[in-house]
């Protein structure tokens, strides 16, 4: 029961202060400030504690949102952190990178009233502040089971699995090809959304729980999968999706046309001071940049390009703004930072001879819904236009790219490349090899961080049951 039933009217929705666009584009740091205890409590107190917690319902991991909001209102920070971790392994990260406006905050009862509760910011505040004050996951009850599990991929799915396994007294060893943990959290998502210190803090927490990381190690190259299967009681695969979706139009191979991920990884390598040979830096300084795609990755590219000093950044998307998959918050941030959006524009061709000169687009209108329930764009004849560009970044998403050694271990994939796992049954996320489980983008295709977290957690619970602990 909220203490002040009308707090949501009296206290307006307020996220932590955001740095001005003019200043923030000058660096890669996070653009949002943090709450102090009082403002977090005041914002949390806006929650109505609905009988139907729509936030929790929409949340892929079903965080007990109203409950930890209540704890924050009461100042019970550590209890909130405990509760928050009961359903989510990476709450401070989800608090930063989740498209809350499409999930919890979008579903919040107050969204239709005077603004949703700032769930994301509070979620982030809880763990950030609790850790700062010395909170650590409570492992006192955990009995060591002596079981061991190898996790391939230190992305959100793998980290979530490691967290749950550790809490079940199972030793998790996480392998990753990159020099730092996090996968796309570190290398895909730019630091202005997720500062890398956050991932490092999470690494410390996980290591404190007994999780081991073996980095710079690509399974199948530096260590064979057979070894893993032999050495460990079970294996979890959380290697994500790294194949880029192509547009399938002419000119995609022209110099100056970049796929989003190498572009973002290159930028991350430079920021982290890694050896750039592994991921070269792609510089947009002074260029007219066109970003194709309307997802969060597209927004990341937009804003990275702005920070690199692009002369202009234009984002073209084939549906209307309403039907964009990306977070509205990121669209807004992009706009503030000077990105121009062109909606209902479908690219037909990238023009240029030696290098990119422009993009030929056609205007679209929204047609009938397709099989996925989303309305399909239909080109309007005679509405073609040409957009001049010095560089084009293609952010159409990713496809699974399962490594070849899977089939050698009787791990089947679907024709789409997604791994085949048990949907129901006693051991969810078990692959066709009983000892091997998988989750995250490898299984469902590229999706949100939080869904990967969810699958990693569920798979880990399946593994624990499989190992009879």
């Amino acid at each position: 029961m909220p203490k002040h039933p009308l707090q949501f009217l009296e206290v307006p929705r307020r996220n932590p202060d955001k740095e001005s666009p003019e200043e923030r584009v000058l660096h890669y740091g996070e653009i949002y400030g943090a709450y102090d205890g009082a403002s977090a409590a005041a914002q949390a107190g806006r929650c109505l504690a609905c009988g139907n917690p729509y936030c929790e319902w929409q949340c892929p991991v079903h965080n007990y949102i109203p409950n930890w909001l209540a704890l924050i209102e009461e100042g019970k920070l550590f209890e909130a952190a405990e509760l928050s971790h009961q359903t989510n392994s990476l709450p401070e990260i989800c608090g930063r990178v989740c498209p809350q406006d499409r999930l919890c905050e979008g579903a919040c009862t107050l969204e239709e009233a005077n603004g949703a509760v700032t769930i994301g910011s509070i979620e982030r505040y809880i763990t950030d502040e609790a850790v700062r004050q010395g909170w650590r996951p409570d492992m006192s009850n955990i009995e060591d089971t002596g079981k061991t599990v190898a996790i391939v991929g230190a992305g959100p799915a793998g980290l979530a699995a490691a967290d749950v396994l550790a809490r079940n007294g199972i030793h998790a060893v996480v392998y990753d090809a990159y020099p730092e943990i996090g996968g796309l959290l570190t290398y895909g998502i730019p630091p202005f959304k997720l500062e890398k210190s956050v991932v490092r803090t999470r690494r410390a927490l996980l290591e404190g729980m007994g999780v081991k990381f073996v980095l710079n190690t690509r399974i199948g190259r530096d260590k064979s999968f057979t070894e893993l299967v032999d050495e460990f009681d079970a294996v979890f695969l959380g290697m994500g999706t790294y194949a880029y979706v192509k547009g399938g139009f002419p000119g995609e191979d022209l110099p100056g046309v970049h796929d989003a991920l190498p572009y973002l990884v290159g930028n991350a390598y430079r920021e982290l001071g890694h050896d750039e040979a592994a991921a070269p830096y792609i510089d947009m300084a002074g260029m007219r940049v066109v970003v194709l795609g309307g997802g969060d990755t597209g927004m990341d590219c937009n804003r990275t390009a702005v920070r690199q000093g692009a002369a202009s950044v234009t984002c073209a998307y084939r549906r209307d703004e309403e039907n964009m998959p990306g977070s509205r918050r990121e669209v807004a941030n992009s706009r503030e930072e000077g990105v121009r959006f062109l909606f209902n524009r479908q690219p037909l061709e990238i023009l240029g001879d030696e290098k990119v000169k422009g993009v030929r687009l056609v205007e679209t209108r929204m047609g009938a819904p397709g099989p996925d329930g989303r309305r399909r764009p239909e080109p309007i004849e005679g509405s073609e236009e040409i957009l001049e560009a010095d560089a084009v970044i293609i952010a159409f998403g990713f496809r699974p790219n399962p490594p070849g050694w899977l089939s050698e271990h009787a791990i089947e994939a679907l024709p789409s490349g997604k791994l085949r796992v048990a949907a129901l049954g006693p051991y969810p996320f078990q692959t066709t090899n009983p000892k091997v489980f998988a989750g995250g983008d490898m299984v469902r295709g590229s999706d949100l961080v939080v869904t990967a977290v969810h699958e990693g957690r569920e798979a880990a619970k399946g593994i624990a049951r499989f190992l009879k602990v």
């Binding site: 009988g51 319902w57 239709e112 955990i142």
Partner: protein
């Protein structure tokens, strides 16, 4: 019982009755034929309190119990050639029409008589005239004979009668046919009764016309049964008494009587051990009470004392009771629990004639004494025509009072005189002082658990006992913080426990029973004074040989123990050496029946070893063992000990982790626990403080117990029970979903109709919990029972359902509605109907041949939701939508602005609920349907609540209340304490608005069908049966979760009962409760509904998101709030959304009909043959036996399935009222006023209401104020005199009036005064009855005499002057002025939040009589309170002018002296100076 009956919901055991009753006695025991004659005519004048069958001749039974008319009987006996001794007896016996059976019965009775050493003198066939009987009565007319028995010479009368008692009881055990019934067999009384109308009694029994039939005492009774299956034997009086009311605790009383049989030992009484059981366990509650009285009397206790013990007054909580009287009751309370419930009892045993009332005065009893020394007591005053000058005393019995005639000494004994006799019979006070010990409590007690559990251990316990974080936060912590039960909104949308796929507590299978219609709930908030939780622990001894050891008891003020009290109880000074610890944790490999065997054996051994306390405990968990659920164990042990005759030698103390909320504790007590120690609550609270979530300094344990106490009061009061000792073992629950083996073993006698989970299922549940409990990695569960949680319990209004529905109605897209309907219709099994699939009646028909959407829509109503609960925007949008589609919206309980009358925004259904907010004549005449809300699904037995912050200026104006002050409606309608009261209210409403249909809203529970049958006989036109899953307003969580049954059961039961009693065609049947889709509608129709109520769904259509925060006024969708910002900025609802919803539902109905091959909706109603049982999704779902729901009771298909009558017209045509209309109508129409005179008698009811309706229809409530009609009346007015009175109607009555004078009055004036020649003192005499001015909103009442109980209850504007009042005066008053020129009863001003009163306190004891919670009192000093001084004087002056009151004149005469004895009584919140100012403003 045939198989057919066994598998339906008809239960012949379920019948309820009440009635008119009375007695006439000559104080000097002089017999006369006049007494008999007058009693019969008086009975005939109470005909309106009984029920009349369609044939106009068959009544539900009436009768006389007459003091032995020896002369007459001797004469008729001699005529037959009997040789009659000096002392002889005669008894009336009903025999079978079958001669062989009759002969066998005669023989059995003769043998039993002979065996006791008495002589049979002969049998007399009683002359009867069957032509007096109606058709139904004739069908079952027995052979009626009288048996004459001679006493051996010299046998004293007492011994003779005890032998007759034994002979009769023994014979009764031997009768082999069901028809034989000994109506009486005694030398002191004889009974004449039958299934006939009172007026026909002397025709049917010529004996009664015989002038030789002379008697000094005649007790009479007229029955109103909810059952029409004619049963001659159920007519009253019984052998000693006639009872108007209902014993709510009957099951417990019967069980305890059986358990206690060994303690009924008396040298006067021969061995009664062969009377097994000692009282009848079947038949009516009243007949069991009569049996009990008979046993106690046979044991040597006089009938006065026995009756006082069985139905004691509220001695525990009344401040000013004589300590010796208190000791008398307290002493016997240690031995005997009260028989609790509304009761007006008249009785005679030949030695005494007496009348008594229950502690709450829930039935009326008025008396007069005439110069010729006859006492007449009856439900009403004016039951025969006497001359007022011959009346020397007139009065009424107050709550818990008794009035008796000592026929031997020719004395009239009033209440005090009876107490004076009783209290001096033994040194009760001395014995108690020596014997009673109390448990001490600390002044400040912040301790919770002396040995707190480690967090890990605690988690194990919490998991083992299924305690979730939700329950800790939402239930336990709230109780501990606020001392009250948590409140929630929107009802319960989760599956019943047996349908759930989660592990649910066994307590969840139990639904609390509640009072509706046939008896009232008690108001545990405002009338706490009658309630008690006092719990005794000690041994019971022989009731007939009392002594000091009977008083050796430990008394606890509440059955919920703290740790300190448990320790004391088990400590060295108390029961350290006389208690047995019984571990409920048993080997995990034992089956539950085996485990219960083990526990029961240990209990039995404990008792046989002489231990007084059996401590059932699950406190010590162990791996490898499983706890047996404490409720199963308690019930099993209780019944085991009852069977072994050991129950009264032990007290069951339950130390358990399973009981946390009030319901759970009530279950344990209801199945026999004496006290409960909920250790896991204390441990969990300790943990909560350890985490710092609640301030450590608070006395959480104590607060928690206070909260639980209030909860227990509420649960008891819901069933009309006032003391926990009567509640204990009374098993007042319905079980939904437990197998018969469990019920038989642990909860025997509790209604359980559809079987379900078995012992194995429950064991499986416990094993699941145990597995998690011992797994340290598993944290305790989040919960999900109260609010939706992912992975938790299924909720029917989960976010998917709500959002899909909203998107469908906003877009108007039927395809989206289909998505919604699919989500609902294909959900996991959540309701009983989900286990029933449809069967086609024939090949599908084309959709366009099916009845149209438009013709289906009028079958839909919106459920009653008040303006106040809803915002005006939402309320009006709903009304507009319903009106546009030709359906009806329901105003709810909150009045309606006059500007809406006649417009599209009006609610066609106007609700009348217990708060009577804004219920005026104008409101009522603007209704098409008037709905009496007896109960609502989410919280049957409780009133509505509107928190103060929702009462803004507009709401306050409509409800005649004060802005900002919360409004709680009383749990009962104070004018409906029984079925005949309901009939009266229906009559009132039909008088004020003859065009309207009257609807009665009931809630499903076992017996609701029987109640509904009674409601039809009370002339309702429509009945709504609500399910537990309805309900939208604020309500305590434990009510939401644990009261009310599924409508599938209630609706089907009602439909079956009405059909089998050939009444279904008389009434339109509706159901509501969680209806969401066309499929729901079709299934409800097949179960018997022809009309459908929707509450939540249309609200969701209007934007409600099911937030369950309606009680907080912060509804963010603007639906359920009065906050201006939320209403104006966030409410998005439009009538079109509601219209879309209903059209979609109707369209879905059509599609289903087409697929079933049905063209018209009427063909669906009652067609249970089109429903097919599905196996369900779990084993226990599969085990449910739904065949009773689907039964047609073997009735022919031609028996009507739905209503065919346009309305249900009352038997009473209200002829006087019609004549009054004929004579005054021109004056009303021309608004010319005038003066008219009429004579009035007690059966002229609701006089004035008919005129008020005509006036309001033409001129509104106040339009005729300046051209009033003066109606002058003489005589005794019937009930509801001046009901709904409006401005322009002045009623002047010379005589007196019965109950409900000025009910719902809004204007005009009622003046009542005694005739000049009256032989009594007016100011000492009752002139009006109970519950006058209930819900009045204006007008004036002057009555020169005393008023009954609850005068001016819920008054919100009337001005009244009376000369004395009963208990609970000015209860719930919110406005108006009341002047009482004399003494008042107790509990004055309970719940009074507005208006004020002047009370003349001659005896200076008013301080002890007013309720101190909300009001304060002030003297009127001439210096500072000039305005009050003048105001009071002007009121008294007006009173004297209107009534000629001698007492008023005397006061005015010496005003300054009297002034010092007046109190001004006002709400604490009101400023003294502002009272009169606010009157002026209002004027």
């Amino acid at each position: 019982m045939t198989e057919q009956v066994a598998k339906s919901l008809l239960d012949p055991e379920l019948h309820r009755d009440s009635c008119g009753f009375g007695l006439i006695a000559n104080l000097d025991d002089l017999p006369s034929h006049w007494v008999v004659e007058t009693a019969i005519s008086a009975l005939a004048r109470l005909t309106h309190r009984g029920a009349v069958a369609a044939d106009g001749k068959t009544g539900d039974g009436c009768g006389l119990l007459i003091k032995f008319p020896e002369t007459f009987l001797r004469a008729v006996g001699m005529q037959l050639g009997f040789s009659l001794n000096q002392r002889f007896a005669a008894g009336t016996v009903f025999l079978s029409r079958d001669e062989a059976a009759a002969a066998a019965a005669r023989e059995a009775l003769e043998k039993a008589v002979a065996d006791t050493g008495l002589d049979v003198a002969g049998w007399r066939e009683v002359p009867t005239d069957p032509s007096a009987c109606g058709e139904q009565a004739l069908k079952t007319l027995p052979r009626i004979e009288q048996l004459f028995v001679n006493a051996p010479d010299g046998m004293p009368r007492g011994r003779f009668n005890r032998k007759l008692f034994l002979a009769r009881r023994r014979a009764e055990n031997r009768f082999s046919d069901a028809d034989t019934y000994v109506a009486s067999l005694s030398s002191v009384t004889i009974s004449y009764k039958g299934m006939i109308m009172p007026a026909a009694l002397p025709q049917f029994y010529p004996d009664l016309r015989d002038p030789r039939m002379e008697s000094s005492v005649c007790v009479f009774h007229q029955r109103f049964s909810t059952n029409t299956l004619p049963q001659w034997r159920l007519a009253q009086p019984f052998r000693f008494l006639a009872h108007n009311g209902e014993i709510n605790t009957i099951q417990g009383n019967r069980n305890w009587a059986v358990a206690r049989a060994r303690n009924f030992i008396s040298d006067k009484l021969d061995d009664i051990s062969d009377l097994d059981p000692i009282i009848s366990l079947t038949g009516s509650d009243s007949s069991s009470l009569d049996n009990m009285l008979e046993v106690m009397r046979a044991g040597g206790m006089d009938v006065i004392q026995a009756m006082r013990l069985l139905i004691p007054p509220a001695w525990q909580t009344v401040d000013n009771i004589d300590p010796d009287v208190r000791a008398f009751y307290e002493f016997y309370d240690c031995q005997l629990e009260p028989w609790d419930g509304p009761a007006g009892i008249v009785l005679t045993d030949g030695r005494y004639a007496a009348c008594c009332l229950d502690r709450n005065g829930l039935r009326p009893a008025r008396y007069i004494i005439t110069r010729d020394r006859h006492l007449t007591v009856a439900s009403e005053v004016g039951v025969y025509d006497y001359d007022e000058k011959d009346v020397i005393r007139k009065g009424r019995l107050g709550p818990g009072e008794m009035l008796a005639v000592d026929l031997v000494n020719g004395e009239l004994l009033d209440n005090d005189e009876i107490h004076d006799r009783l209290k001096t019979r033994a040194p009760y006070k001395k014995w108690l002082k020596r014997g009673i010990r109390y448990l001490d409590s600390l002044l400040v007690d912040t301790r919770m658990a002396a040995e707190p559990m480690e967090p890990d251990t605690l988690a194990t316990y919490q998991k083992m006992f299924n305690l979730t974080r939700e329950e800790i936060a939402e239930v336990i912590a709230v109780l501990a913080r606020t001392e009250v039960e948590p409140v929630g909104s929107m009802g319960d949308d989760t599956p019943m426990a047996v349908l759930s796929q989660k592990v649910r507590s066994p307590f969840d299978y139990f639904r609390q029973q509640f009072a509706q219609v046939t008896n009232p709930p008690i108001d545990s908030l405002r009338e706490r004074i009658v309630m008690s939780l006092q719990t005794n622990i000690g041994r019971e001894y022989n009731l007939f040989e009392i002594g000091p050891r009977h008083a050796e008891q430990v008394i606890i003020n509440s059955p919920v123990l703290s740790q300190a009290k448990l320790r004391q109880l088990l400590g060295p000074d108390m029961f350290e050496d006389s208690h047995t610890f019984i571990d409920l944790n048993v080997d995990e490999n034992l089956s539950l029946p085996a485990a219960l065997d083990q526990i029961c054996a240990a209990a039995e051994k404990g008792v046989r070893d002489g231990n007084l306390i059996l401590m059932l405990s699950d406190r010590y968990l162990e791996k490898g063992k499983l706890p047996v659920h404490a409720l199963l164990a308690t019930g099993a042990v209780h019944h085991h000990l009852v069977r072994k005759g050991l129950r009264c030698d032990a007290n069951i103390v339950v130390e358990t982790g399973v009981a946390r909320d009030a319901h759970q504790i009530a279950c344990l007590i209801g199945y026999g626990a004496t006290t409960v120690y909920p250790y896991l609550v204390y441990q969990s609270l300790h943990d909560v403080t350890r985490r710092g979530n609640i301030d450590r300094q608070q006395q959480l344990g104590r607060n928690y117990r206070r909260g639980i106490r209030k909860g227990l009061f509420k649960i008891m009061s819901k069933m009309g029970i006032s003391s926990i000792s009567s509640y204990r073992g009374a098993q007042l629950f319905e079980i939904v979903g437990l197998d018969d083996e469990i019920v038989e073993r642990c909860f025997r006698g509790t209604p359980s109709r559809i079987r379900g989970a078995t012992f194995e299922d429950l064991l499986e549940d416990q094993k699941k919990l145990a597995a998690a409990a011992w797994e340290p990695r598993e944290s305790i569960e989040q919960g999900g029972l109260y609010k939706y949680v992912h992975g938790g319990e299924y909720h029917c209004y989960n976010p998917d359902v709500v959002t899909t529905l909203q998107s469908a109605v906003r877009t108007g897209d039927y395809a989206q509605y289909r998505n919604y309907a699919r989500l609902v219709n294909e959900r996991p099994v959540a309701t009983l109907r989900d286990l029933l699939a449809l069967k086609a009646a024939g090949p599908p028909v084309p959709l366009d041949e099916v009845e149209s959407v438009e013709s289906i829509l009028p079958r839909f109503d919106s459920a009653g939701m008040s303006l106040g609960a809803l915002s005006p925007e939402a309320h009006e949008a709903l009304a507009i939508a319903m009106n546009r589609i030709g359906a009806r919206s329901n105003s709810g309980e909150g009045g309606e602005d006059a500007s809406r009358h006649g417009s599209e925004r009006r609610s066609k259904i106007k609700q009348v609920a217990s708060g009577r907010f804004g219920v005026t004549a104008e409101y009522l005449v603007n209704a098409e349907v008037i709905q009496i809300k007896i109960a609502q699904g989410a919280k049957p037995g409780e009133g509505g609540q509107l928190p103060g912050h929702k009462v803004n200026d507009m709401i306050a104006k409509l409800r005649y209340a004060k802005p900002g002050v919360g409004l709680i409606s009383p749990p009962p309608h104070h004018d409906i304490y029984s079925i005949e009261d309901l009939a009266q209210l229906i009559f009132d409403l039909k008088q004020v608005n003859p065009q309207a249909l009257v609807s009665v809203k009931l809630v499903a529970e076992p017996g609701v069908g029987t109640v509904a049958a009674g409601v039809v006989k009370a002339y309702a036109d429509l009945i709504t049966i609500s399910g537990y899953d309805g309900g939208t307003g604020a309500s305590p969580l434990s009510s939401v979760k644990y009261a009310g049954s599924p409508w599938e059961l209630g609706l089907s039961e009602t439909h079956q009962v009405l059909r089998s009693q050939n009444m279904r065609h008389q009434v339109r049947l509706q159901t509501d409760g969680g209806l969401k889709t066309g499929l729901d509608v079709v299934k409800a129709a097949m179960l018997g509904a022809e009309s459908f109520g929707f509450g939540t769904a249309p609200m969701v259509a209007l934007g409600c998101k099911y937030l369950r925060i309606c009680h907080l006024n912060n509804c963010a969708t603007g639906v359920a709030t009065q906050n201006n910002v939320l209403r104006s900025e966030y409410f998005i609802g439009l009538p079109e959304m509601v219209i879309n919803f209903f059209r979609f539902v109707a369209e879905e109905v059509r599609e289903i009909m087409a697929s079933l091959g049905v063209r018209t909706f009427a063909e669906l109603v009652g067609r249970t043959d089109l429903l097919e049982r599905q196996p369900g999704q779990t084993a226990r779902q599969a085990r449910l036996d739904l065949s009773p729901i689907l039964s047609d009771n073997g009735l022919a298909a031609s028996v009507p399935q739905f209503c065919t009558e346009p309305h249900n017209a009352p038997f009473d045509k209200g002829e006087l009222a019609e004549r009054m209309v004929r004579e005054t109508l021109p004056a009303i129409e021309s608004k010319s006023g005038g003066r008219f005179e009429f004579r009035v008698q007690n059966f002229n009811r609701s006089i004035g209401a008919r005129l008020s309706g005509e006036i309001a229809r033409r001129h509104g409530n106040h339009g005729m104020a300046d051209a009033p009609l003066d109606i002058v009346l003489h005589g005794n007015a019937g009930q509801s005199f001046g009901a709904w009175n409006v401005s322009g109607l002045n009623l002047l009555l010379r005589g007196d009036a019965n109950d409900y004078v000025g009910k719902g009055m809004t204007g005009g004036r009622i003046v009542i005064y005694p005739p000049d020649n009256a032989g009594y003192v007016a100011r000492d005499t009752a002139i009006i009855g109970n519950t006058c001015l209930y819900g009045a909103t204006g007008g004036q009442l002057f009555a020169a005499g005393r008023a009954g109980e609850r005068f001016a209850v819920r008054n919100s504007g009337a001005t009244a002057i009376i000369e004395g009042a009963g208990d609970h005066c000015c209860e719930y008053m919110t406005d108006g002025v009341v002047v009482v020129l004399g003494s008042t009863g107790v509990n004055f001003g309970a719940g009074m939040t507005g208006g004020f009163a002047y009370v003349l306190d001659i005896d200076r004891d008013f301080v002890d009589r007013y309720n101190h919670e909300l009001i304060d009192i002030h003297r009127i000093t001439p210096e500072s309170m000039e305005a009050h001084l003048h105001h009071l004087r002007s009121l008294i002056t007006a009173h004297v002018e209107a009534t000629g009151s001698a007492w008023g004149e005397a006061i005015l005469d010496d005003y300054r002296t009297f002034l010092q004895k007046f109190w001004v009584v006002k709400p604490k919140a009101a400023e003294l100076g502002s009272l009169i100012e606010s009157l002026r403003r209002a004027a």
